[in-house]
Subunit: 133 residues, 2 copies
């Protein structure tokens, strides 16, 4: 049942991204969650996570589509989970509409079950890129 | 006491890196730990984490020095912690000894206390770089 609930969080994460609904996106996070993006920017708290993503979804991510190619879920406790999601991101664009190359990466979510259900308490995201020669 | 023990893990992490002792480095991880590096490479298990870092510490990281500029520790449970470490990495070099620019980044550790003490169960590392304009 918990596994099902966690899958629903990851599906809601993708759905919120792909409908660019940053209210729904932020609601997946705990009040005091941490989010580190692929540039090492550290956003603290649900509201900041929502607002920073809202700005991005009005520009570069406006028409983007995020999909999960693989997820790995690991229960540390019955109410604490570490989840890796491998993702593809397409449809990126510059403010003038010029397309930006697709990206892929791997995202780590730490989730915990609270009285309100499963929430993401920490996310860290890393682009998959070839290491320098 | 747990906070002190966790600080010892992060100090041992830096010490192992800076003495390039990948046996000591790997020993900080649980058997089945996950490590995602800054290029999105996903290493699974203590042995793989140790071996992959050993190869890097014979080349690019051979004379490197890692230091923590800030750490933030958050207890999810009394035996589960999420820790962010902001780091600087200097002394990088190519195989021919040519210096490589310094890097900085932010690393997420998930730690849990087991019968053997605190171990890292997941690490994800991200370089801090300016986002594209």
């Amino acid at each position: 049942m918990d596994e099902h609930a966690i899958r629903q969080v990851t599906e809601a994460f993708l759905a919120a991204w792909n409908t660019h609904d940053m209210g729904a996106f932020a609601a997946l996070y705990s009040d005091d969650a941490d989010f580190v993006n692929v540039y090492g920017m550290h956003w603290k708290g649900r509201d900041v996570i929502g607002e920073s993503h809202r700005a991005l979804h009005e520009t570069i991510f406006k028409a983007s589509r995020l999909s999960a190619t693989r997820t790995e879920m690991r229960f540390l406790r019955d109410d604490v989970v570490v989840l890796h999601m491998f993702w593809d991101l397409t449809g990126l664009q510059r403010p003038d509409g010029t397309p930006v190359p697709d990206r892929r990466g791997i995202l780590l979510h730490v989730l915990e079950r609270s009285a309100e259900g499963w929430r993401i308490v920490a996310t860290q995201n890393t682009d998959i890129v070839p290491p320098p020669a």
